[in-house]
């Protein structure tokens, strides 16, 4: 812990302080303004939202860190994961548990496959033209969205019921909640830790981190960086799909949710610092909390949700004014 702190650059140390002060401020405001129970509920909602955003944002961040591609199709991946998962869940004839697991597995695998084809076939030929990669993912996102709409229709899908075990109720801050929400938070935490271990404790992770620093060097060491690129792209896509499926029992599936979460995820990645994994994790929670508190504030004090809608963007603008390369980004 101490070595972690001393190894940080002064800039990143300042970022940590800012984050701590800001979160403390948010907590204080909500406690003073909403009272103990509502504040607790709000914070819980914020953490939940943060975890969901993290699933999309971590993929975005991984892909950007290594490939330098801002993958705008990440929102579409979430959407495909959600709809395909929903479809599988309803078309299978088995117990709820099996259907639920099959939905997760099927959605994630399909999106991973799409990611693989997309990286190998479309993105790879464009490494010399980075702007085109971004724009390409933009175009592909539009196409994916269109396909989902064509196949599954415009109507929102109802939330599906998770296995009974996850469907039980518990009470927190005088609010009765489904255990499924804890499951989402757990999933987010597991992914956070899992990817951290992958990046820091495994050979492939070391290659990925080295590749983020200096791809040519890694290539020169005789490692096939291109294959690692594809792998990371697949991993990133799969994380987004997982986020999508996790969302369905919670809020159903709509065509808009892809873009909603994409924007949140982009904000998170920018705030956290492009390509910084810890930055993404911290920023997810901060963004989730900000959004939840702003929503509650709008609800209690204003008759319109302007504050809720602009809070995230304001946060991003503020952070970039203070730290031009995000909280934990590589400065120049």
């Amino acid at each position: 812990m101490q070595t972690y702190w001393t190894n940080l650059t002064p800039q990143h140390r300042r970022s940590w302080l800012l984050v701590v002060v800001y979160v403390a401020l948010l907590l204080a405001i909500s406690w003073l303004d909403f009272g103990y129970n509502t504040a607790g509920q709000t914070v819980f909602r914020g953490i939940l939202l943060g975890m969901l955003v993290f699933l999309v944002a971590s993929g975005l961040s991984l892909i950007f860190g290594l490939l330098d591609v801002l993958n705008f199709a990440q929102g579409a991946f979430l959407l495909i994961g959600a709809y395909v998962g929903y479809d599988i869940y309803h078309s299978l004839d088995a117990s709820v548990e099996v259907r639920f697991l099959a939905a997760i597995g099927g959605g994630v695998l399909l999106v991973a496959a799409i990611g693989a084809v997309m990286e190998a076939g479309l993105i790879r030929p464009l490494y010399e033209r980075p702007i085109f990669q971004i724009v390409l993912t933009f175009g592909l996102a539009a196409i994916f969205l269109d396909f989902v709409e064509r196949i599954y229709g415009r109507n929102p899908k109802q939330p599906l019921s998770p296995p009974p075990l996850l469907n039980e109720k518990f009470t927190l801050f005088q609010q009765s909640l489904s255990v499924y929400r804890l499951f989402i938070i757990g999933l987010g935490l597991a992914m956070m830790i899992g990817v951290y271990i992958l990046l820091n404790r495994t050979r492939i992770g070391i290659i990925i981190r080295a590749g983020v620093q200096d791809p040519e060097m890694v290539q020169a060491l005789g490692i096939n960086v291109r294959r690692v690129f594809t792998l990371v792209f697949i991993l990133g896509s799969a994380l987004a799909a997982l986020g999508g499926i996790a969302l369905v029992p919670y809020q159903g599936a709509t065509l808009e949710m892809g873009n909603q979460f994409l924007i949140l995820a982009i904000v998170v990645v920018v705030i956290g610092g492009m390509g910084s994994y810890e930055g993404t994790a911290v920023a997810s929670i901060v963004v989730g909390l900000t959004r939840a508190v702003a929503e509650q504030l709008s609800l209690e004090h204003f008759d319109a949700p302007v504050l809720a809608e602009t809070s995230i963007l304001l946060l991003m603008i503020a952070v970039l004014l203070v730290q031009p390369s995000g909280l934990f980004g590589r400065g120049e």
Binding site: P125, R150, V270, T310, P324, G329
Partner: protein, 508 residues
């Protein structure tokens, strides 16, 4: 060819004054004849459509094809101006902004908020504000007295011109104030954003525009912006600029005003690019650090370009509202759509080409309008031979292999052995057959009753998909866009010739 002959002939003229005059005349004609021709066609476009469709140029009710296409063409020209301004930033200066819609929307909103909501005179307040600014400058900075006086006089003159002492203001005053507002917006956002690098800059501009989009939509400011319903301007427009009446020639007149606007924007951008500033911004795009090292304050030039592009976008926004069918300013004008559309037009037409964005904007917008108004009968067989869906499967398989060819190359070569070009081709063909067959079998299982009867359907439904696919194909196969590829074809030949000459020189 012709060019060279002309210039060579001119070179032979003895009298230097005469020669110079002839040269500038020749340059004027040779550089502009094509554009002049295009403008002429645009000018006559209503008459051409009228002739082709048998409708009238200035019809009383019911309005016909010509009147319809006048407004469609005008809208396309306005959006072409927006695309050109985006290309100025993106293609020539290398600034990738995702917030361009902010300036487009600002044009609509500032103009019509001022028109619709200002119901008293603010002249005194404005004069006091100008004097306060001048005073502050005098006290806080070491500005020279002469500059200060010029500034004060200029400010007072502007106020007298733009802020009337009668309640409300005219359309022209409001539009001029919108331009001023746009310049202010560029200055503020430029100072803040231009120090950010790369993707951070892009995302910051995106967030800024999104903010205003959300604010414009929000019910909180309903009595200013009209929230989702937008702002109606129905009778606020001066008669000379109102394109709605067709019978008295108003629409035709406004159509021509739009062409004039388009031509002015085109010429202004071309002059900007050919000016000393234009050369500097291209240098910045090429190598910003080097541009700084030879003595350019690159920040200033980028800011100037942002202001210039912003003003054009703002004016386009005003015209866009004028041509809107429902006569309202909508929050949509501030949405990402009006950043992405010009970006697409720029990419498809050719990044950093003068005419590319125009070609793409006109082609795509008019093409969309045309297709949306038609219905097509989809025959379920291609050429009466292959069922359509089978054909599609084959096509998709071919495209898939095409896109994956780099990845597939080792496998293909292993398959082909070393039998040369033909066996490689054979291997690709075999792969295609296998993939198609798999697709056909799978498709036959999932959709056994696809090929039943001819279907009449509406293209409007398919347009977005079509656009997305065109877009991916252009990005993958035509990276320099339509005009860019065309230009490159000629430039590459010239450069090859130069390279060969350089090598010849090295050889002996």
């Amino acid at each position: 060819m012709i060019e060279r002959t002309v210039y060579r002939t001119i070179d032979r003229i003895g009298d230097p004054a005469l020669r110079r005059a002839a040269e500038s005349l020749a340059r004027l004609v040779l550089e502009n004849w094509f554009y002049a021709l295009v403008v002429l066609v645009l000018w006559q476009f209503p008459a051409i459509v009228a002739d082709l469709s048998g409708s009238e140029v200035t019809p009383r009710r019911p309005t016909g094809e010509s009147a319809f296409w006048q407004s469609e063409m005008a809208r396309a020209l306005v959006l072409a101006c927006l695309a050109m301004s985006y290309n100025l930033l993106f293609g020539y200066n290398g600034i990738i902004s995702f917030g361009h819609a902010l300036f487009f929307g600002a044009g609509g909103y500032i103009t019509f908020i001022l028109l619709a909501r200002v119901d008293q005179s603010y002249q005194q307040e404005a004069l006091i504000a100008v004097l306060a600014v001048v005073l502050a400058l005098a006290i806080l900075t070491r500005i020279t007295a002469r500059r200060l006086v010029t500034l004060a006089l200029g400010g007072v003159l502007l106020v007298l011109l733009l802020v009337p002492n009668t309640p409300g203001m005219t359309f022209y005053q409001a539009a001029a104030l919108a331009v001023l507002g746009s310049i202010g917006l560029s200055l503020i956002s430029g100072v803040v954003t231009l120090r950010l690098r790369g993707i951070y800059f892009t995302m910051f501009t995106l967030a800024l525009a999104e903010m205003f989009f959300v604010l414009a939509k929000s019910g909180t400011f309903r009595n200013v912006t009209g929230a989702e319903d937008g702002l109606g301007f129905g009778d606020l427009l001066p008669a000379a600029l109102n394109p709605t009446p067709t019978g008295d020639g108003s629409r035709l007149q406004m159509y021509r005003v739009t062409i004039v606007f388009f031509v002015i924007v085109f010429l202004a951008i071309r002059r900007y690019l050919n000016s000393p500033v234009g050369r500097v911004i291209v240098a910045i795009r090429e190598n910003e650090e080097r541009a700084r090292t030879i003595g350019y304050n690159t920040f200033f030039y980028k800011l100037l370009t942002m202001i210039f592009a912003g003003v054009i976008a703002t004016l386009s926004g005003v015209l866009f509202v004028i041509w809107a069918t429902d006569k309202r300013v909508h929050p949509e004008m501030l949405s990402l759509k009006f950043t992405v559309d010009p970006l697409l037009h720029t990419l498809i037409g050719g990044v950093g080409t003068l005419t590319g964005p125009v070609v793409a904007a006109l082609g795509l917008i008019l093409g969309e309008t045309y297709l949306r108004n038609e219905t097509f009968t989809l025959e379920t067989e291609v050429l009466g031979l292959v069922p359509l869906w089978q054909f599609a499967v084959g096509l998709i398989a071919a495209l898939l292999i095409l896109f994956l060819r780099r990845t597939l190359r080792p496998a293909i070569h292993r398959l082909a052995g070393d039998g040369g070009r033909w066996s490689v081709l054979g291997a690709y063909l075999a792969l295609w057959i296998v993939v198609s067959a798999a697709g056909l079998v799978a498709g036959g299982q999932v959709v056994p009753d696809l090929d039943l009867q001819d279907e009449v359907f509406d293209v409007s439904d398919l347009w977005d998909l079509f656009l997305g696919i065109v877009f991916v194909i252009v990005v993958m196969l035509l990276p320099h866009g339509i005009v860019g590829t065309w230009n490159r074809f000629w430039i590459t030949r010239r450069i090859r010739r130069m390279e060969r000459a350089l090598q010849r020189e090295k050889a002996p």
